[in-house]
């Protein structure tokens, strides 16, 4: 006997699949397709990888592209060195049963829920020499001579923006690490106690190895988030990611290429090409994570 056609499965799946396909998968594919075309007088023409070659070789594209990519790597490395270790440290402290842990947790998470635009602008005001909250604080600490308009200098603007981003986003790794740490069974701590292990030993031999999968997830989330970042730089430094492109990352470069700005007209084909290049960078990161990190963890566990 033949089963009746499972209409209900289709009905359940259809709305989500439709919206997701039309507004996510199709635009991604059509962007990739556009990146393989260019506009001529006769209309759209397929040019294969020519746009990508142009992105990597033509001086007006390759120079800002490599600059943005390099800046993006620096931006990411600062997050990996500061945001995630500090997030982990806070998470370890907060899962030790200190009094008021939930209040600390709520306060430290608060910047994360605020819009990047607003946070960026607030920091811009605090750090600028005209209002001078930062100079005043440094004066009170006796560090006056070290104050500089960090967001306005080519040498420091990218690092300063990365610090602001770390300040804002630290709540995310903190939460994920708290979730992972609170799942470690109590017996392991008991056993460590019997053996007379110190805090450090417990951290290195029990806590860290057991939350390694979370460390990996946090790393890849940071990677995807950073290589896709835009709002903070745009809100504080504008589309030109100044001063002199020193804070330009792939997101702002993509925006400028697509929409144009004071310096150049917008170009949807090259914009799609930049997005394609960003997709490649992100996919490389994901593949390295899946093959490198996850496999190593599996070897470690079994």
């Amino acid at each position: 006997m033949r089963k009746p056609f499972p209409t209900h499965i289709v009905v359940f799946l259809l709305p989500a699949t439709l919206v997701y396909t039309v507004f996510m998968i199709f635009p991604l594919l059509s962007s990739l397709w556009l990146s393989l075309n260019t506009k001529t007088e006769a209309g759209e023409m397929f040019v294969g990888l020519a746009n990508y070659v142009r992105l990597l070789t033509a001086p007006e594209f390759s120079q800002p592209f490599w600059n943005a990519l390099k800046n993006n790597v620096v931006f990411f490395v600062i997050h990996m060195l500061l945001q995630n270790p500090i997030g982990l440290l806070i998470a370890v402290l907060l899962t030790r049963g200190l009094m008021g842990s939930s209040i600390y947790r709520a306060i430290i998470f608060m910047p994360t829920i605020l819009s990047v635009v607003i946070v960026g602008f607030a920091w811009k005001l605090i750090l600028n020499p005209a209002w001078g909250i930062a100079p005043t604080i440094m004066k009170n600490l006796g560090l006056e001579q070290y104050y500089q308009p960090w967001l306005g200098l080519e040498s420091t603007s990218l690092t300063t923006l990365a610090f602001i981003s770390v300040w804002q986003n630290i709540g995310i790794p903190m939460m994920l690490f708290i979730a992972a740490l609170s799942r470690i069974p109590e017996e392991l701590y008991e056993a460590a106690r019997v053996d007379g292990a110190s805090r450090w030993t417990v951290f290195w031999k029990i806590q860290l190895p057991l939350i390694l999968p979370t460390v990996g997830i946090v790393g890849i989330l940071t990677f995807v988030g950073n290589f896709n970042a835009f709002d903070l730089i745009y809100a504080t430094q504008g589309a030109l990611a100044g001063p002199n492109f020193s804070s330009d990352i792939l997101g702002t470069f993509f925006y400028r290429t697509f929409f144009g700005n004071q310096l150049q007209p917008g170009d949807p084909y090259m914009g799609a090409t930049v997005a394609g290049a960003m997709l490649v960078v992100i996919l490389i990161g994901i593949v390295l994570y899946l093959w490198g990190w996850q496999r190593r963890i599996q070897n470690l566990q079994f």
């Binding site: 991604l28 608060m110 819009s115 979730a179």
Partner: protein
């Protein structure tokens, strides 16, 4: 810390969860570090709110002081309400966020139900297809999205944003919800099937059981939608469709040097998020800790 000292204090702390090595000194150190970090977290927010209630002169001369009878001034808020339509922007943000979250929940739970409840040929494929979007940022499809939205005549409408955010939120929502649904007891559904309930009824029946997972999905999806700048900037920059984040960023760009107005705008834009957070922080935190790791 020495091992001997540790053992003497160990027994007292057996009750404390996950914690056995306690002595007062490291505890104090932990508190000091956390308090310092909380100060760093709160400092910019407090500075904004505090100074938004002061006159221009006092902002510069006494940035750290509380507003008093001499320095208290609402000029910033006045020029804010003359210069921008923040009420309208807030309603736009609210409409977009609430509608997107509603669609994400409804469509997401339907799809998750199909994926977790039935075995059919394309089950694994559909699961993989729908979860592609967890890792690939939708922003990279912007060129295609803009063309599509223009072709559909949805440019400068809130629907453009709602549909894009729904598409963006669905993958993770389906992932979380189907993991949760697989853990629900089967006997209720089986009993209902024997009684002749339709599959749609059975889905409706499971909906109330999803409450904890729904909390996670809402918490995780809400922040990026409410705070997004990219898509409002590109798809709906018109005066009538501006969200509060875009409205604030345009306003801040125009009034850069009017500090009272800028600080008032920042405060006004921060406050709804903080109020929401204070109300929902427990669910939000629970949602993030439960839902994010499955």
């Amino acid at each position: 810390m020495s091992g001997a000292k540790m053992e003497t204090t160990a027994t007292q702390s057996r009750r404390a969860k996950g914690n056995f090595i306690e002595s007062k000194l490291p505890r104090l150190g932990g508190h000091i570090f956390l308090i310092l970090y909380c100060l760093i977290s709160l400092f910019p927010i407090v500075m904004m709110v505090l100074n938004s209630f002061k006159g221009q002169m006092a902002i510069f001369s006494e940035p750290f002081a509380l507003p008093n009878s001499e320095t208290l001034s609402l000029d910033g808020y006045k020029s804010l309400f003359q210069g921008a339509n923040f009420g309208g922007y807030a309603i736009n943000s609210l409409t977009v966020t609430v509608t997107s979250l509603g669609l994400i929940l409804l469509m997401g739970s339907m799809a998750a139900f199909a994926l977790s409840e039935y075995t059919f040929k394309l089950n694994t494929f559909m699961g993989l297809y729908l979860s592609l979007g967890i890792m690939v940022p939708i922003r990279l499809g912007t060129v295609g999205i803009l063309n599509l939205v223009v072709d559909m005549g949805l440019i400068n409408t809130l629907w453009a944003l709602i549909l894009v955010y729904t598409a963006q939120g669905l993958p993770l929502a389906i992932f979380i919800l189907s993991a949760f649904m697989k853990g629900l007891p089967k006997y209720l559904k089986e009993a209902a099937r024997i009684d002749g309930a339709s599959e749609y009824r059975i889905f409706g029946m499971t909906f109330p059981l999803l409450r904890p997972a729904i909390g996670s999905v809402l918490a995780i999806s809400m922040i990026p939608i409410w705070n997004d700048l990219w898509f409002p900037l590109i798809l709906a920059p018109g005066e009538k469709t501006k969200t509060i984040v875009l409205g604030a960023s345009v306003f801040l760009g125009q009034y850069v040097n009017d500090y009272t107005a800028v600080l008032a705008a920042l405060t006004l834009a921060i406050l709804p998020a903080i109020v929401l957070y204070l109300f929902f922080s427990r669910q939000l935190i629970k949602g993030l800790t439960d839902g994010a790791l499955k």
